[in-house]
């Protein structure tokens, strides 16, 4: 194992739509954009297939934040999956708020297949922001 660094290194789970954000991630790679290794990508067929349960599961298992990357409104490969994702995530954030959980640890972003640089920029941003937020208490305070 690498030496423990002094600063807090957040752990981020990313659900990436196969058609856009995962493609943008590939593009970021092809163009050798550099970003921190904190996000673990999980390819899904569409942002609309991300059950809020998986977001919750990730946070309860120790993720400090979760990103969901989908196609821009109007561009979903399955027509409306991203709108479904938008509603689901909005609802999840509401529930988080009412339970006193930090809804800012959930990030829904539209990143198209051509936005490789934007993908890299966003990963830098989410890593920085999560680092500022500090370790998520959810994994230790809650048990499934």
């Amino acid at each position: 194992m690498a030496e423990k660094k002094e600063q807090f290194e957040p752990k981020i789970i990313g659900f990436l739509c196969n058609w856009c954000t995962a493609s943008a991630a590939d593009l970021a790679g092809t163009t050798r954009a550099q970003y921190p290794p904190n996000m673990h990508p999980i390819r899904v067929m569409c942002s609309g297939t991300v059950d809020p349960m998986y977001v919750l599961k990730a946070l309860l298992s120790g993720a400090d934040s979760v990103m969901i990357g989908g196609c821009h409104p109007g561009d979903c490969h399955y027509v409306s999956g991203n709108y479904k994702a938008r509603r689901k995530i909005a609802m999840l954030k509401q529930i988080f708020k009412s339970l006193g959980l930090d809804e800012n640890r959930i990030w829904l972003r539209w990143i198209s297949a051509s936005e490789g640089p934007e993908f890299a920029r966003f990963i830098r941003q989410i890593t920085e922001e999560t680092r500022k937020q500090g370790p998520s208490p959810m994994a230790s305070d809650w048990t499934v």
């Binding site: 789970i13 290794p37 051509s114």
Partner: protein, 662 residues
Amino acid sequence: MKRKIGVYICHCGSNIAGYLDVKKTTAYAATLPYVVVARDYQFMCSDPGQDMIKNDIKELGLNGVLVCSCSPTLHLRTFREACAEAGLNPHLCEMATIRELCSWVHSHERENATEKAMALIAAGVRRVLYRNPLETKWAPVTPNTLIVGAGIAGIQTALEIAGAGNKVYLVEKEPSIGGRMAQLGKTFPSLDSTSDMLIPQMEAVQANKNIELLTNSEITEVSGYIGNFKVTIKKKPRSVDEAKCNGCGECWAKCPVEVPSEFDRGMSKRKAIYIPFAKAIPKIPVIDRKTCKFFLDGSCHVCADVCPTKAIDFKQAEETVKAEIGACIVSTGYDTFDPTPITQLGYGKLENVVTSPEFERMLSPDGPTGGNIVLKNGTAPKAVAIAHCVGSRDQNYFQYCSRVCCMYSLKYSRLLKKLLGHDTNVYQMYIDMRCFGKGHEEFYKSASDEGVNFIRGKIGQVTNIPQSDEEKGKLIVVCEDTLLGTMIRVPVDMVVLSVAMKPRTDMEEVARTFLLGRSADGFFLERHPKLDPVGTMLDGVFAVGCCQGPKDISDTVAQATGAAARALALISKGKVEMEAATASVDEEVCAGCGYCEAICQYSAVEVDPKRKVAVVNEAVCKGCGACAATCPSKAMQLKNFGQKQLIDVIDEATKEYAGLAR
């Protein structure tokens, strides 16, 4: 069934092995549950790499394969086919992307990259664990092809495909086909007239019954998948009835409005009702509603009055055309760089500083000067300087080489000598001469033999302020001759700026419509730079010509022919593999609530009213997973993307790894 998984880690030369510890990851993979063999190899996608997998399937009885290498868009099919050849159901093969998502993006932190790769592999093994054999299903291919952009790339592709007897929709944004090639005078290295080559091809397009030509049109929507795309095309109103117009030209002769011609780069005037150039195809005018007086204030309708066939239709509305398409070819071409921001070159301020596209129009017999090279005062220049790489190979603008500028700059030398006489002084200010094509070096030699002054250096400034009598009334090119190591001043009459080819400003819209990626230079990204330079990341969509990167006409046509072959191959195969990972219902658990039925975009799910369980129509299901995400009892699952799998993957992914440990 006890799972026996094989893990194969690719070095990808040094693309992976150069940035992370392949040996360590392989050793780690071997310790993972269910993994019976873990190997690493130079190039997994090569034949020996694939054989390694095939042998293990046969000898060790593997029933799961994880290949850890590049993105699945590149090689998932390769590895699945290899598995199938060895008798393993291809759906039991999965990939972990440790190149694009790891080695390439964490190339300065070897240890972290290694740890992340290990996590990706562990999660990948979990994905394989929960995969089940699926039956491959096929869908028929619609034998129609869509081609977007009718420059030489689009024209050539259309002729090949239509020539083989297939329907082509050729969609062009401008009122005429032809693209940039129509604006060029003569072409290197043969000095043939471009219109002599292009016009017959354009006419062949118009004459071909298999080609449905939609000019003045744009794509607004694309949905579906390879073999079965649905596209919506917007036909902008021409304000002229195409069926009635016979192209006689009465209307544009009489129209009183004059505006700068886009085709002639503003060097001549066109009317408000116009065809972009004399040999335009179709030879049907279009009314520019922004400048036509009828549309501005209703004060003029001369065109309608003089039209012998009553073809003018001021009320013509936008039309929508819908088409079913098997393959899409994007050939939207390029823009040229506007050198105004490089103020020291004087473009836009000093007379007789012109760009190469403007110079091409001067060289064209149908151009604003009738093919004569003239200064603003109407006389011929006696000395001309040609500045290479304006905007190209420049850290401030475009890092890449535009690949045609050296050659067309040499073409200008030869044409200047030919048209204005051998005593015309031509100066080429270059950084490096790049004449790599067939017959190009020879062309360079002939140009040199004609007595051209080659000055190695980039122009620092173009000025009209003289420092000597000799410089009076001249443009003075100030330049460092890097071979002599001195600053020089060259008085000339005309300066031609060989400007960069750049991605079109509307590229992003097209990229979004077709879900295309763009490389760092801004042009469309090919699927593989060497092995698939015409494919894109989206199956069934190809990018050809200068929208994929700067190139000359020969390379454009070669690529276009390649794309045509690919589209024809798809049509002749006649079937494409369909998404096998559809949704499926656990009837024991399903409560028949109907949430899935309500959320499905494709009406692929229905609740059986008698049995009160959801039923999936697999022929219609696209495998998006919206129903699975909505099902309250989790009876609905996407095959091979099930809940158990994802939960397990998340568990693996959230395990401590790297210096990322708290």
